[in-house]
Amino acid sequence: MAKAELMDYEKALEQFEVVIGLEVHVELNTNTKMFCGCANSFGDEPNTNVCPICIGLPGSLPAVNKRAVESSISIGLALGCSIAPTGRFSRKQYFYPDLAKNFQTSQYDEPIAFEGSIDIEVPSGNSYTVDIERAHMEEDAGKLTHVGGSTGRIHGAEYSLVDYNRAGVPLVEIVTKPIIGAGSEAPELAAAYVRSIREIVKALNVSDARMERGNVRCDANVSLRPHGQAKLGTRTETKNVNSLRSIERAVRFEIQRQAAILAKGGTITQETRHWHEDKGATSAGRPKSDADDYRYFPEPDLVPVQPSQELIEALRAALPEKPAERRKRLQAEWAFQDLEFRDVVNAGLLDQIEETVAAGAKPQAARKWWTGELARLANADEKDISELAITPADVAELAGLIDAGKINDRLAREVVTYVLAGEGSPAAVVAARGLEVVSDDGALIAAIDAALASQPDVLDAIREGRMQAAGAVIGAVMKAMQGSADAARVRELLIAKANWQ
């Protein structure tokens, strides 16, 4: 991959206006697939959740999943969309081995939801309205694994394996209109938008919304045009960017890359691009033109979806509170300062903290762990915090262990590393590794006696009220106990010893 030339970000924004467009695929968490009765389940043994319909055997026919339709309507309503009273599916046709029928059954010219909008706040506190063009239903493809070759892509592979468990999993694709006017905040807006979509589908309980599992996937379109030009520039579409952090970085990268090309009088190739997390760069995928011919035509095996007005209104009535209202409520409930709360929002940690509090932690403790140590660890690993292998329940358990005096902060941080390494819940790690704070006074007294042996004057000093002298003994005890001592208890025992003698 040739290293792309990049223009300084600030300079790029001086010369060009940024236009982005986002396509987010949300995998629904229905029990069964979009058009058949197979389990919609992640991580099962390959090709076990398959049937004649989702592997496209001759003669099989699709039947629409009612729950998926309802979920799609809910998403549309939450995005302020109108719901189509009738909508056909179409066939999008292309040959690819992960596509069992060699066409994807998808809504084309009649999406179930259209013309909505959503307000998105970025870290600076600025807010933008993102217009939604449409949200439509479709089916996922199977999963290809390319074996051999260096790139992990189909070209150069020795052979490829197909897992059709994912084939036919219901998807909702949410497409924005071109987003213009975010300027230098376009990358942050892209990430904040996807975060909002995640929050919405989670709150609706229509998707597991785990980006690391591909439940929410984003294709980011970026184009530049000289300030004042009416015509949109040529866009690129960076596919399947699978973390919020990557979305922000990928958009920023494309802005800098395209600016460098355009500034030199070059042209942008309309193409898909791949995001490389390790290199922090995109690379060219396949050329894409508006004339890509998928030979769409109405799916003759399905009748149009015609949701009743009663159903739509029932789903509207069941919508959860809007994200902005929810934020207001949570800040009040948790009694966070404005700055504390904004940090939480910007870090995308509302859900984690809410769930951690729900699991029994104090709000401030939950905040401290998520925005502090856990954010630091995620950052160090260049991961999204949602990808860390620790659950809100784990964090609440951790805070509970500290409150109960079982472990101290330093030990707690150590426990976290073991939890992340997959050794089990915090309590299990503490038990298995014997990390509990030593509260056996006998062991502590022995250690204090050992420390006093080399510092015999300390007891006198304490009796005379010179408490700072205690520090040296406490320090020596903590060192001897390799940190697994409760410093406060050591101090108590030391004072007791001085007064008693």
Partner: protein, 510 residues
């Protein structure tokens, strides 16, 4: 028992129920006849002797034990080879599916099994039901029992020849543009295309999804009615299947008068282009209906002129898409070119080797008709014609209860006669196609032999959607009138297969 195989399905059902014959004996009688004549007639691509006899034995045992059985239990049946069966290969007449045994039963086959009907085997068809003669079957053509040098119609020539040659009492067909009715017409048998959605398409290997419909093939109208009552009904697996039932076809087939029934003769489907002997028998039938008290009117369907053109865009378009799944990845034939081929080359080589010329012709045509530059002028325009044809029907049904025409312009033609000219072949379906484009039901039944060639002629009745019962009603009445006139049934005139096979073998030997 020598004439057992010549009896109608309804007679055989009565004999089974009374215990006059066992299902095993009956099934064996057909299997014996298949063993003798199928090598020449080639109705069956696969004979399921073992499983047919097992079903028959089960029926006999249950009947002996006094258990309650479904109405048609024990009656053997033949099934067109484009319906999936878990116990027999399903090829759809194509090399690309040679030897493929499906993992699931089509809904229609599941219903036949629930009815406990022994399935004798799978019948021949033009590859993926694309054709009017079975000449496009990858497994050789079936032969017309009235003249072994002639086509048995298509695509369902396997089912029509099986029923006409007494190799089955009754059969299942599928009709996309006439594939049940045209074969019925040229073999002197009865065939019905029910209303679109009346019978589930689940497990029917799709040709054109919006046109395909499964239906019965038999030697008289009542037999088909019995079968439609078994196979019809809503199926959750087929979203396009009708939610409501259409009533009893068997009851409709037992009605005996047509007084006051308004019969609309379609102006565009007679006269020029129709063989004289066909037209003559047709005119006699209309006269017979009139004499029986039916009111004969003429109806004008001007858009029918464009029906074939529209059909040959919509069908290939849908077929090109439906056949995309035949890519060697999950089932069926796989051809791996030499060297280190990519998946694209494996797919291409498989499709090149696995599909026959007519299938390729239609895939190419359909792919083009759906391409972005051509869509509006071809597929889009064809859909508009479809709407116009539906309007023609709606208007015609304002003045007529049923419409009528000859089923086909000619009697059975000879093998090879139309092979060089696909368009001439397509014209066989001129009278049958409009029903598929409009989703309405149609029946073909025999009305005698054409004088010039002594071959069967068929008449077609059409009814509004969901009014299949009208077809069984008028069909059964006309059949009764004609049989009374002749003093015999149509099939009583069928030539003796033994002498035909002997002559055929002699001519082949030359």
């Amino acid at each position: 028992m020598t004439n057992l195989t010549r009896k109608n399905a309804s007679e055989l059902v009565a004999m089974l129920q009374s215990g006059e014959v066992t299902s095993v004996a009956l099934t064996q009688a057909f299997l014996d006849r298949i063993a003798k004549y199928n090598p020449v007639v080639n109705s069956y691509l696969h004979v399921s002797a073992e499983s047919a006899l097992a079903t028959a034995a089960e029926v006999d045992a249950k009947r002996a034990a006094g258990e309650k059985l479904p109405a048609l239990a024990g009656l053997p049946i033949a099934v067109k080879d484009n319906l999936t069966t878990t116990d027999a290969p399903t090829t759809s007449g194509s090399k690309i599916l040679e030897g493929w045994v499906p993992q699931y039963d089509s809904t229609v086959v599941a219903k036949l099994r629930a009815e406990m009907m022994p399935i004798l085997g799978k019948t021949n068809l033009d590859e993926f039901a694309m054709g009017s003669s079975t000449e496009y079957s990858a497994y050789g053509p079936s032969r017309n029992p009235w003249d072994l040098d002639r086509i048995p119609g298509g695509s369902g020539g396997g089912s029509s020849s099986a029923v006409a040659a007494f190799l089955a009492p009754i059969a299942i067909g599928s009709d996309t543009g006439g594939s049940i009715r045209f074969p019925a017409s040229v073999t002197g048998t009865v065939g019905i295309k029910p209303t679109y959605g009346a019978v589930s398409r689940y497990g029917l290997i799709a040709l054109a999804s919006s046109l395909d419909q499964v239906g019965p093939v038999s030697r008289n109208v009542l037999d088909s009615a019995l079968l439609q009552d078994v196979i019809a009904g809503h199926d959750a697996h087929d979203s396009t299947s009708l939610p409501e039932g259409l009533g009893s076809m068997t009851e409709a087939a037992k009605r005996s008068d047509v007084k006051g029934l308004r019969v609309g003769v379609i102006k565009q489907l007679s006269g020029a282009g129709f063989q004289a002997g066909v037209q003559k028998r047709f005119d006699e039938s209309i006269a017979a209906l009139k004499a029986a008290g039916a009111e004969i009117v003429e109806v004008d369907c001007p858009s029918f002129e464009y029906a074939i053109a529209a059909y040959y865009l919509i069908l290939p378009a849908e077929a090109s898409s439906n056949l995309a799944k035949f890519d060697s990845v999950r089932f069926g034939m796989r051809v791996t070119p030499d060297g280190n081929p990519t998946i694209e080359r494996v797919m291409a080589a498989t499709r090149e080797a696995g599909f026959g010329p007519e299938v390729k012709r239609r895939i190419i045509l359909g792919t083009y008709a759906l391409s972005s530059g051509a869509y509006d002028n071809f597929y889009g325009a064809a859909q508009k014609v479809r709407t116009l044809i539906q309007r023609d029907f709606a208007k015609a049904f304002e003045v007529a209860d049923v419409l009528v025409s000859p089923t086909a312009p000619t009697t059975a033609f000879k093998f090879g006669e139309k092979n060089d000219d696909p368009l001439a072949m397509y014209l066989n379906d001129i009278a049958t196609i409009p029903a598929n484009l409009a989703g309405i039901p149609g029946i073909s039944l025999p009305i005698g032999l054409a004088e010039e060639d002594n071959l069967p002629v068929g008449i077609q009745f059409l009814a509004p959607a969901r009014e299949d019962a009208r077809l069984y009603h008028v069909g059964a009445v006309l059949e009764g009138i004609l049989e009374a006139q002749w003093g015999k049934t149509m099939m009583d005139d069928a030539p003796d297969l033994d002498s035909l096979v002997g002559a055929f073998a002699a001519s082949e030997g030359k």
